[in-house]
């Protein structure tokens, strides 16, 4: 952790790449691909939250879809109301004979309210749910089951509420307008892509800040031995509630970005398999690595869309196989494997000499190599 500071190039290269990607990809990628990439990148944000609570704090939530969908519905309701002629209601209300806008819809007419609702509402719901669960010391498998049960409750509730929120059909956002521009238009989607890149980087920075200092140490300590923390004077309930709320807020942002780039929010976002997939992205990318969560989300979903274009039926098998492979062969995920010198080991296995840098003798001398190895985090 106290390794010598990386060279300026290594330090700045990722940032240069991110900025370049944010500026260049929207120009060079065809709109369809750009939109896909933007959607998958926004899924990286909910994955970051899962890494925070699972990878670092040891709480496996199978219910992040709740908070993801709450963020999606917040933006969906705002877009349904935006640019309506005065006195009119969103179309679906007519179908059910609703004449007056339900009270809880009203604040979503305000962009400012919506801006906060996207992340504050999921964070508060997560915080309340988390507090009740953690205070009663529900942990491990029981926690996972409970989050999944909560997910089902939300799923069924939203599905059944035609008159309030259009039930199964959900809310469409593609045909809505914002600042006079169609949300589904290519131009708008390009802006949304850039916003997604910025927010993903922001979410990553937030998680990094939370996990690198002593607060992060406390999270790891809770994962390693929660009772021990209590006997040192720490109250794990506070810490767990806090990170669970942060993960909920991130899920909300993720859901909002995903919604506007997919064109719809529906209770399907709270379906059980989707929330389990989120966990798989993090496991495959690498638990406790942050960047692995984002990579896992993007890579798996991109692979999914490629495979589904060709052979739709095979994707579930590929995804299952990938998960099994990671659990058995790469317990630290792709990023963990990479950081622990995986590529070099693979090269050695295949029989190639390791790639050497400027001073081959330095790199090849076993004594020096072992010394260098120690500095690695």
């Amino acid at each position: 952790m106290t390794a010598s500071s990386p060279s300026p190039l290594r330090r700045w290269l990722p940032w240069v790449l991110i900025v370049a990607a944010g500026l260049i990809l929207p120009i060079v990628l065809p709109p369809f691909r750009l939109n896909l990439l933007g959607r998958f990148l926004s899924l990286g944000i909910v994955a970051l939250g899962i890494d925070l609570i699972w990878g670092f704090t040891g709480m496996l939530s199978l219910g992040q879809g709740i908070f993801f969908a709450l963020g999606g519905y917040a933006i969906g309701m705002f877009l349904s109301l935006d640019n309506l002629e005065p006195g009119k209601l969103p179309e679906f209300f007519d179908l059910y004979g609703v004449k007056e806008l339900p009270g809880f819809w009203q604040p979503f007419a305000s962009p400012l309210f919506t801006f906060f609702a996207i992340w504050v509402i999921p964070a508060v719901v997560a915080g309340l749910l988390g507090f009740l669960v953690f205070r009663n010391r529900i942990k491990g498998v029981y926690f996972s089951i409970l989050t999944q049960a909560a997910l089902l409750v939300f799923f069924n509730f939203f599905n059944g509420q035609q008159k309030l929120i259009n039930g199964t059909n959900g809310l469409k956002t593609d045909t809505a307008r914002i600042f006079g521009e169609l949300v589904g238009s290519d131009l708008m989607q390009r802006y949304l892509f850039v916003i997604t890149v910025v927010l993903t980087v922001g979410a990553w920075l937030l998680c990094r800040w939370l996990t690198t200092g002593r607060f992060g140490d406390a999270l790891i300590a809770i994962r390693d031995d929660e009772p021990r923390m209590r006997f040192t004077g720490y109250n794990p309930t506070t810490y767990k509630t806090l990170v669970f709320a942060v993960a909920g807020g991130l899920a909300g942002v993720s859901g909002a970005l995903y919604t506007v780039q997919s064109g719809i929010i529906s209770p399907q976002f709270m379906a059980v398999p989707f929330s389990i997939e989120m966990v798989i992205w993090v496991a495959v990318g690498g638990r406790g690595t942050l960047i692995g969560a984002v990579l896992g989300a993007v890579v798996i979903n991109y692979a999914k869309s490629l495979v589904s274009e060709q052979l739709p039926e095979t994707w579930l098998f590929i995804q299952g196989g990938l998960f099994l492979l990671v659990v058995t062969a790469l317990p630290d995920g792709l990023v963990g494997w990479w950081r622990l010198g995986g590529p070099a080991k693979l090269q050695a296995m295949v029989g190639w000499p390791p790639r050497t840098a400027t001073y081959p003798s330095l790199d090849l001398d076993p004594a020096l190599r072992s010394e260098q190895g120690e500095g690695k985090p």
Binding site: R214, D224, F231, G233, N235, Y239
Partner: protein, 265 residues
């Protein structure tokens, strides 16, 4: 934790009043009475299953007494959450060493040394330099400096024991409860642990549970013998060792062969 009010001389720091603990009808502690004066060093011995660990569980809030009361500085601890009891100034080392495996020894100690356990303090407040120096000093004392930056999970059993003792010292509680600190340590390390605990007493009140009779003798303190959940006898080591009831408990027969007691223990 650092601001400790000076207890009056005649008030005991810790007092257990007829504490009994029942696990589904099995009485692990049975009408246990014990008084600790401020600054005292006390050893607690007893055969396996005598209830020694349960006795610490009751003080630290892990187990609620079925009957009786635990008083700390004249205040009842019964029903208080573990972390609040810890904040009152009671620290504990566990029988099997429990350190945070994925954190380095330095970071283990930095968590223990923190005066303020709130998340906001950990996020926004840095570690003050006296605390930093304390951590560095303790790493030196327990000989873990060379290992200070690698995960504690890779330490040997003895090193983990010492790390946990160091964590307890870093926490700087008024009352230190130490469960079998020298299990798995070498003779030399055992001697150093005894010295360390003796040094701590005076400023701190220390209660040590141990099986190792040599170690108890090195502590040179009052000894309490636990048996079947209650106090069998109390006194200096020599006196306790020659008590026929203690010999009977340890050997199952009446004898005056003191060496045998040591062998069994």
């Amino acid at each position: 934790m650092s601001s400790r009010s000076a207890p009056s001389a005649d008030q005991p720091l810790l007092e257990l009043r007829s504490v009994s603990v029942s696990f589904d009808g099995f009485w692990a502690l049975n009408d246990l009475n014990l008084v600790l004066a401020p600054g005292e060093l006390r050893a607690v011995i007893g055969p396996n299953g005598a209830g020694k660990t349960t006795f610490l569980d009751v003080i630290t809030g892990k187990v609620k007494p079925t009957k009786g009361d635990v008083m700390f500085r004249g205040r009842s601890l019964v029903g208080t959450a573990e972390h609040r009891i810890a904040r009152l100034g009671i620290g504990r080392k566990f029988q099997t060493p429990r350190v945070y495996q994925n954190l380095t020894p330095r970071r283990n100690l930095e968590l223990a040394v923190s005066g303020n356990p709130s998340p906001f303090h950990l996020l926004f407040g840095g570690l003050e330099s006296p605390a930093r120096e304390r951590v560095q000093h303790l790493l030196g004392v327990v000989g873990l400096e060379p290992f200070s930056n690698q995960p504690a999970g890779g330490l040997s059993h003895g090193q983990k024991q010492w790390l946990e003792i160091a964590m307890l010292v870093a926490q700087d509680p008024d009352l230190l409860l130490v469960d079998e600190p020298v299990a798995g340590l070498t003779d030399e390390e055992t001697g150093r642990t005894a010295d360390l605990l003796k040094q701590l007493s005076g400023d701190h009140t220390v209660l040590v549970i141990e099986h190792d009779m040599d170690f108890i003798r090195q502590l040179d303190s009052q000894v309490t013998v636990l048996h079947e959940g209650h106090v069998l006898c109390e006194g200096p080591m020599d006196e306790v060792q020659s008590d026929p009831r203690v010999i009977e408990v340890y050997l199952g027969v009446e004898t005056d062969d003191l060496d045998s007691v040591e062998n069994i223990a």
